[in-house]
Amino acid sequence: MTALARAPREARDFWLLVLAGALVTAVGLGAAHYMDVHGHVVTGMTNQVVWGLPHVFAIFMIVAASGVLNVASVGSVFGQTVYKRRAPLSGLLCLALLAGGLMVLMLDLGRPDRIIVAATHYNFKSVFAWNVFLYSGMVAIVALYLWTMFERRMNRWSRPAGIAALVWRFVLTTGTGSIFGFLVARQAYQSALLAPLFIVLSFGWGLAVFLVVQATMYAWNRQALPADIQRRMARLLGVFVAAALYLVAVYHLTNLYYARQVDFAAFLLLGRGDGAGIFPWLFWGGYVLLGSVLPLVLVFRPQPGRRDLLAAAALVVLGAFAWLFVFIIGGQAFPLEILPGHAVSSSFGDGAIERYVPRLPEWLLGLGGLGAAFLLTTVGVRVLDFMPADDFPAAGQPAEGAAP
């Protein structure tokens, strides 16, 4: 099929994608409105599990937004040409994911109508308040970075902008990890390890999202990713996944070692305690096996194929959701230890494990955020030139060294 004959069909497919993204986003907004009118009573959240499924989606997107920028950093800051050509797409995905994540986070507030209060009243001791600046700063820096890449006159500023973005994203993910790390009262959190853990997790999650989007774009343009680039990116994903698995293991080993944390670790990892059921399954089955070990096997095969890489990336994303559910929900479901050494009970759920089941509006809001990120990416890729420009021969012909 010639390029000209393809154009109308491509335009139709593009609008279909936009429509699909807009529809999912609209359903998410509808769910948020429903939650706003009726209150959080229509969700599965209670006074024990105060952050539910929307936070799982939001934190995934925010952490992945920071990680996806890694591709640009490897290119601009460390001068790797293959990655440099992918820097614009990496920047766009960062903005899209950040927007999707923040949309979910804001619409899950008890008073989303007061969002302007969050922009006019600051408590500078709050990690959340720091994050307001970190997120808006990230958007500004990445937008500038994209500008230096697209505007030929500004190209020479691309490297300094890339360095600024790299530093900012490290601080941003430190901030995200510290939202939990600074919670001294909760057994699940209160660890300085959470900031570096989130940074390393962001590398893997961000690259995984990038690889899924890149594979889709190549398929759309009927191109194949050259085998050597594919191998390099596969290996990089493997290194990130392995490093994250290591830090997650250290985090849980610490909990197993401290006598006061043993009950919590047994609850989360072994399912000890009434109603703990789902967390060990999600941790061992979802995060460790499907989200880490299987992707490692796939990417470290002698000749990982296109499908191996795509499957590995999709599994890493799946594992990310499983881990975040265990971390965020499991960490709250376990009761606070107000009186160590005592068994307690009350009408307020003291001493009891909370059984949180996410309800439909929470799913729809979370998916709406993903829809918004998808929509922004689709439109961005169409309006501006985000396709990695390295390895394209004339349209319709396979690239040199392309995998079969």
């Binding site: 006074n47 008890g110 600051y122 308040a129 107000i338 307020f348 759920g349 396709m387």
Partner: protein
Amino acid sequence: MNERADRPGADAGAAGSSRRGFLGVAAAGLAGVMVAPGIRLIEVAQAATGAAAGPTAGANPKVRWGLLIDTTKCASGCTDCVDACNTENGLDPRPTPTSAQWIRKIEIKELRTGRTSSAPMMCQHCASPPCVDVCPTGASFKRADGIVLVDRHTCIGCRYCMMACPYKARSFVHEPLTDQKPDVPRGKGCVESCTLCVHRIDAGGKTTACAEACTKAGHGAIVFGDLNDPASEISQRLREVASVQLRADLRLDTGVRYQGLGA
């Protein structure tokens, strides 16, 4: 998805320049729409702050309000303090898992010895409250007299304070509310907790609803008073009997103390 390969070069240049212009105008417009209301609101907020004397006006910095709970006098199953609090503050008398509970009774059993006790649990009105530290908008605040409150006008309902509180003292209003008490404003989507009956104290009242009900019923398990006044009943009792702060390891310097608990 991009069309670069399909587009003739000259057209691409023209289209690129008009697109750039459009994007520039759109970005400037969007920035204006997003920033202008914020600037307007900052003006409004500053004007309002100038007119009123601030949220802590009236609180006496020389006072530190607190409670002493004598668990040896607190009967298992008795909910006189809880009922009084619910009535005083217009809370749900038959709480569900999503209802607000500003004060609750906990039944306690020491695992090693099997010794049982019972005690009311509420906001501990810490001198270094984690909820105040984490609140992004400053809605969680501590008054000069030690009472920890939530400003219902600036609470955005992020629930970070609930994550930070070691005592599970805070509740989130999950549903629209009706029939509120005029002295105790509440609202869906905000976080709230025990106010130490601040509306009573500010009106010159001498005690909280829970302490009053407990005393009236003859239990005498709750004493309210000024921790900074050496002559107050609570200070005298605290000098005489052994008491503990819950999660004293966190060094939050709680305003609520417990007698007869080995925690």
